[in-house]
């Protein structure tokens, strides 16, 4: 961010206040500190934060920004893990915190229209009395917003059977970079023309700013069964996962945690996980009572082939919630094991679980850094979390190198760089591991088709000109501010 940009934006503050109101434009350094980070390793200082209340205000802000060539970054709850909401080039941050209304629930047609700042879990809570719910459930669902979920095409444990965010969004009102307000899709499940809705989801706020969202609601299932299977080794647990999927069963959720995660979760929430186990599987089935019971018997039979230490079934909703509380709270609980953790997000073919986890374990042993493995195992989405202490010289450099090595293993195994956190700043320089120059050039053209001036969340997703590997690490380290908590 140049000095001239800073001064230019400062000059625009009266106009921004006229648009959003005096109380909703922040430019005091103390206020801005809150907006310089998200859940990732990155940092970036906006010059000003605007908290709009309406689509019209966003349109006016974008028109103003465009006429002054100022970058704009939309921000939800800031729980993202790839730096997508970081104002890397300064400019204006548009916080969606005030646009948090559930505008309509249509039970007959099973959709809801919400503003982007609605917290993910709040929607399911709101429609539960109608016997409905919103399926995508990121682990941060108590805090993350649906607008942010759209930017990153977020997943969650229950996306195994029900799909990720893009499978549950019918249409969206968006504001384009020039301030134009339009809808991509509406409330229908199908439509005419290019799927602008689909291409915008997961585009990390680089194509348009989403201001209203029509989401599919699902009927709450008749029956839910949650099982905890513990195994002596993570290899046994992985083989059980491969066996379940290979037998043609797709549970609602199929999660795995290794002994580090078990220890941390037990210490933090007392979820009832067996501390002596090498890994646990959390399996959830839902649907018709008969279907759930038949499938659970088959899954138990498959798991017994791998000598489980214990198979436990939640007997009521309280026990189910307890089992899930360990899984959903495990990342925070890792703080019990080390001052910091670096969470890696990659996806591999499910048949490669055993091989890849073995390689990650070898890296851990070789490097001396413990790696806690938390997996959406059913869809092959790994979250190895490297435990470290940022105060120790060299730790940040080392764990970033380990993260890059793990991602390379994922890609070499036929997998991808990110399953649900996005590329953002964190992995932009690793894109060449997966994509050719032609692939990335073709993707970059998409951005040009939406806006030619690159003002919406610039500097994200694509490499910045440097290669991957060491340079990427250097950039990441350079961005880490003092006292950064990863």
């Amino acid at each position: 961010m140049g000095k001239s940009q800073h001064l230019k934006i400062k000059d625009l503050i009266p106009e921004l206040k006229r648009i959003a109101g005096d109380n909703y434009v922040l430019d005091d350094q103390a206020d801005l500190l809150v907006y310089e980070y998200d859940g990732s390793i990155d940092r970036g200082n906006p010059v000003v934060v605007v908290l709009p209340d309406t689509t019209k205000e966003i349109s006016q802000v974008l028109k103003l920004a465009r006429s002054n060539s100022i970058p704009v970054v939309a921000r939800g709850a800031g729980t993202g893990l790839s730096g997508g909401a970081i104002a890397e080039q300064g400019g204006i941050v548009l916080s969606m915190a005030r646009m948090n209304q559930i505008l309509e629930v249509n039970r007959s047609d099973r959709y809801a229209i919400v503003e982007p700042g609605v917290v993910n879990l709040d929607l399911s809570t709101h429609v539960a009395s109608e016997g409905l719910y919103y399926a995508p459930d990121p682990s941060s669902q108590r805090a993350c917003t649906i607008g942010g979920n759209i930017a990153e095409n977020s997943g969650g444990p229950h996306c195994l059977a029900y799909g990720v965010t893009t499978n549950h969004v019918l249409g969206m009102e968006v504001v384009l970079a020039d301030g134009t307000i339009t809808w991509f899709g509406e409330n229908e499940r199908d439509g005419i023309g290019y799927d602008l809705r689909g291409i915008t989801i997961g585009s990390e706020g680089t194509l348009a700013i989403v201001t209203k969202i029509s989401v599919r609601l699902l009927r709450l299932p008749e029956h839910v069964k949650t099982m905890l299977m513990s195994f002596e080794t993570i290899e046994d647990a992985s083989a059980a996962v491969t066996g379940i999927i290979g037998a043609g069963m797709v549970p609602a959720a199929l999660e795995m945690m290794d002994h580090f995660c078990i220890k941390a979760a037990e210490g933090a929430v007392g979820a009832g996980y067996p501390e002596g186990a090498g890994a646990v599987l959390l399996v959830e089935l839902d649907g018709l009572l008969e279907s759930v019971e038949e499938e659970s018997e088959e899954i138990e039979a498959i798991c017994r082939e791998f000598s489980p230490l214990e198979i436990r079934v939640a007997t009521d909703s309280l026990e189910r919630e307890k089992l899930w509380s360990g899984r959903k709270g495990v990342l925070g609980a890792l703080g019990r094991l080390a001052p910091n953790y670096y969470l890696v997000d990659g996806t591999i073919p499910r048949t490669k679980l055993v091989d890849v986890l073995k390689k990650i374990n070898e890296i851990s042993e070789r490097s001396g850094y413990p790696i806690a493995n938390l997996l959406h195992a059913g869809d092959g989405n790994l979250h190895p979390s490297i435990l470290f202490d940022e105060r120790k010289p060299g730790d940040v450099e080392n764990i970033l190198a380990i993260g890059a090595e793990i991602l390379r293993i994922c890609v070499d195994s036929g997998g991808v760089l990110s399953g649900e956190h996005g590329i953002g700043l964190e992995k932009q320089d690793q894109m060449p591991l997966m994509f050719s120059e032609e692939d990335m050039a073709t993707m970059s053209l998409l951005k040009l088709a939406f806006e030619t001036e690159d003002l919406l969340n610039p500097g994200k997703v694509f490499p910045t000109g440097a290669g991957c590997g060491d340079i990427s690490q250097a950039r990441a380290i350079a961005r880490v501010g003092p006292g950064a908590y990863i």
Binding site: E188, G202, S418, G419, F435
Partner: protein, 426 residues
Amino acid sequence: MEEKHLIDGIQPNEGSIYPQDTNELSSALSDITEPGKVVVPIGGATRLQIGAKIPNYDYALDLSSMNHLLAHNSADLTCIVQSGITLHSLQNQLKEKEQFLAVDAAFPPTATIGGTLASNAPGHLRWQMAHMRDMVIGMQVVLPSGTVTKSGGPVVKNVSGYDMARLHVGGYGTLGVISEISFKLTPLPRQQGSFLVGFQSENDLQNFSEEVFDSYVMPLALTGINENLIKTLQIDVPQSQYLMVIRIGGRQMAFERQLNILNKMVDQYQNSHTDLLEQNASDPLWEKIRDFRGYGSNSSITGRVFSTPTRLRSLLRDIVNYFEEIGSTLAICIQPGFGTMEFFIDNLPTESKVRSTQVIDQIHNIARQNQSHINYEKLPADFKNGFNMWGQVNEGSLGIMRSLRDTYDPGKKLNRGRYLTDKEDN
């Protein structure tokens, strides 16, 4: 020249090209450098009639030789295919491992996967299995310049870069030519069958479908057809105004439980009749319903409605009333829970005082009044002149769509003048 390369009666000026793989496809496109030349990608040609009337074209790019299943990782429920493989061939190979691709477009022995995706072909499995675009996890596309690009990959969860495949599903080959696709697959249900209910009113059909939608029954497909279509397809059932066909599947006990729920629900409906067909007996019925677009003369009209379940209910009523008013009939195939409907108009009665163009205009009006969209998929060639087959898309979206078209195919080499972005070229 192959007959299937005739589009609106027009054959390619320069001839047909049959690439065997992605490299040959890339070379074919990069070799066509002369400005203004038009290339039309063609799969099985089962949906080639869709789109504005083509003024002329130069090359038929026939992908039917790119017809291989490249990889089937059955333990991972994924596969990679070339775009020219037919649905029938693919499903047969997947079936060996008790899996299937949840896409069921018409004429599967001929329809290719690439054409099915590019033309966003309708299918009945969407009721539960979601849209076909949700089955695509990766795609390789050859740009008009011949450049080969890919997005996604052979894993079921991925947010690495833009999800470019989304643009090509329903893009009618106007941004690039699909060459390979990675899919996620679905295990075949252990047991399948179809529950048939005949109703004497459209109201009963709609009420029943809403009840099913609201119950714990999870149909694989749920489709209603009207009496006219029952007769056209020569379906042997007792006289009914509407027939609902509900395909259910699952394990034995779950299958039987769903049947019980349906039987209890249908008891409330007077004058209804029911039947249960085992899978082997119901497959031919589904094939008839699926392929109904093939019936009728060259002058027949087929349209596709996109709506919500509630709006579709009032739209159906308005269309039926309108056809009663003009003393004519149309065949209807409706997916009530999904909010889509297809209609099929054969020849209007010769004594009709209403011209076909007026009928089409009025159907458009009815759709607009019910906040729904219509895309005409089949029109007599002489109707196509100057007629917008694509229906209405809001101006903001259309602007971005045109920008995409200009960005990826500035010379409009692919399918020029046929897609909704190219209206000015019609």
